[in-house]
C-alpha cells in the first residue's frame, strides 16, 4: 500500500515536471538584465511572441531597438531599477538589435522566425 502510494506520487511528480516543462516552452521568452548585460542574447522567438525583459541591476537601463549608431524606433522601454520589467511583442520576422541608451556597450538581439 505504502509502496503503491509512493509510486503514484512519483508518477504524479514526473507528470507535473513534464507538464511544467511544456508550459514553460509556451510561456513568453525572457531576457534578464544583469551586471550590465542582456542575457541570453541573441534570443530566438516565433513571430507574434512576447519577449519580457527584467532588470536585476539596481540602476536604470533601457531596452531600445536598433543600435546607438542607428536607432530604428520600433520600441524603447525604461527599466527603472531592480525588478522593473518591460515586454515587447514582435510580429514580423527578422533580426531586431537593441541596446541600452544609458550604457551603450550593452547590446542584444532578438531573432524572430
Amino acid at each position: 500500500m505504502g509502496t503503491r502510494w509512493q509510486g503514484t506520487r512519483l508518477v504524479a511528480a514526473v507528470a507535473l515536471a513534464l507538464g511544467t516543462g511544456s508550459a514553460a516552452a509556451q510561456s513568453p521568452q525572457g531576457v534578464t538584465v544583469q551586471t550590465f548585460q542582456f542575457k541570453p542574447t541573441p534570443i530566438e522567438v516565433a513571430a507574434g511572441s512576447k519577449v519580457t525583459f527584467i532588470n536585476q541591476d539596481d540602476i536604470t537601463h533601457t531596452v531600445t531597438s536598433g543600435t546607438p549608431e542607428s536607432r530604428d524606433g520600433k520600441f524603447s522601454h525604461q527599466l527603472v531599477g531592480k525588478g522593473a520589467t518591460a515586454t515587447v511583442e514582435l510580429t514580423q520576422r527578422g533580426v531586431y538589435p537593441y541596446f541600452c541608451e544609458r550604457h551603450r556597450s550593452m547590446r542584444g538581439e532578438i531573432h524572430v522566425k
Partner: protein
C-alpha cells in the same frame, strides 16, 4: 592665447583618445607578469594574492592617470599619448581581473564602464586646460553620476558589495583624482605629489573591500 592653448590641449587629448580606442592594445597580462610573479612569491594564500593584485592595479590606475593628465596640461603630446596608452592597458588588466572572477561577459561589460569614467576625467582635464568652468562642472556631475553605475555593477556581480558603499568609495576616488589635476594645473609641485599620494592611497579603500567581498562570495576559489 590661453584659450588657444586650451583648445590645442583639448584637441590633442581627444585625438589621442580616439587613436588609442581604435588601435591595438599590448598584452596587459604580459606587461604585468613581473608584478604578478612578485605578488605570488610573497603571498601564501590566493586571497592575499587577489588583494595585493587589485591594490597594485588600482594604484597603478592613479599614477598613470596622473601621468596622462600632467602631460596633457603641460602640453606634452607624445608623453600624453604614451601615458594614455599605458592607462588603457591598466584598464584592460583591471577588466581581466574582473573577468577572471565573473567571466567573459562581465569582463566585456566592465571594460567600457571603466573606460567611461576615464573619458569623463579627460573631459574635466580639457575643461581645466581651457579654463572652461561649464565643462569642468559637467564632467564632475557626470563622474558623480557614474559612481551610481559603478556601484550598481559591483553590487550586481557581488551582493556583498552594497551599491551605496561602492558609490561613495568611487566618489572619493573622483574627488581625490580631481585634486591631483587641480594641483597639476596650478603648477604647485608639492601639492601635486601630496594629492597624488592621497589619491593612490585611497584606492586601497576600494581594492581591499572588493577583494574581501570576492573571497566571501567564492570561499572555495580563494579561501585558505
Amino acid at each position: 592665447m590661453t584659450h588657444t592653448f586650451g583648445k590645442l590641449v583639448g584637441a590633442a587629448l581627444v585625438a589621442a583618445v580616439l587613436t588609442l580606442s581604435a588601435g591595438p592594445y599590448f598584452d596587459p597580462a604580459q606587461a604585468q607578469s613581473g608584478h604578478a610573479m612578485t605578488a605570488m612569491a610573497t603571498s601564501s594564500t590566493r586571497a592575499a594574492g587577489l588583494r595585493s593584485g587589485l591594490n597594485m592595479l588600482f594604484q597603478e590606475h592613479i599614477y598613470l592617470a596622473a601621468a596622462a593628465t600632467g602631460a596633457a596640461l603641460g602640453g606634452r603630446e607624445a608623453e600624453f599619448k604614451a601615458a594614455a596608452g599605458a592607462l588603457d592597458a591598466n584598464s584592460i588588466a583591471i577588466s581581466k581581473a574582473i573577468g577572471s572572477v565573473y567571466g567573459q561577459g562581465a569582463e566585456d561589460a566592465f571594460l567600457p564602464l571603466w573606460r567611461k569614467h576615464i573619458g569623463m576625467v579627460v573631459d574635466y582635464t580639457v575643461g581645466v586646460a581651457s579654463n572652461d568652468k561649464t565643462k569642468q562642472d559637467k564632467a564632475v556631475a557626470d563622474l558623480i553620476g557614474y559612481t551610481q553605475d559603478f556601484g550598481a555593477f559591483l553590487q550586481s556581480a557581488n551582493p556583498n558589495l552594497p551599491k551605496s558603499v561602492v558609490a561613495d568609495l568611487v566618489k572619493h576616488h573622483v574627488v581625490t583624482l580631481k585634486a591631483v589635476i587641480d594641483a597639476q594645473a596650478s603648477k604647485d609641485q608639492a601639492k601635486t605629489f601630496a594629492t597624488l599620494r592621497t589619491a593612490a592611497g585611497h584606492m586601497q579603500m576600494i581594492a581591499d573591500p572588493l577583494a574581501e567581498a570576492i573571497v566571501k562570495q567564492f570561499p572555495d576559489k580563494f579561501g585558505g
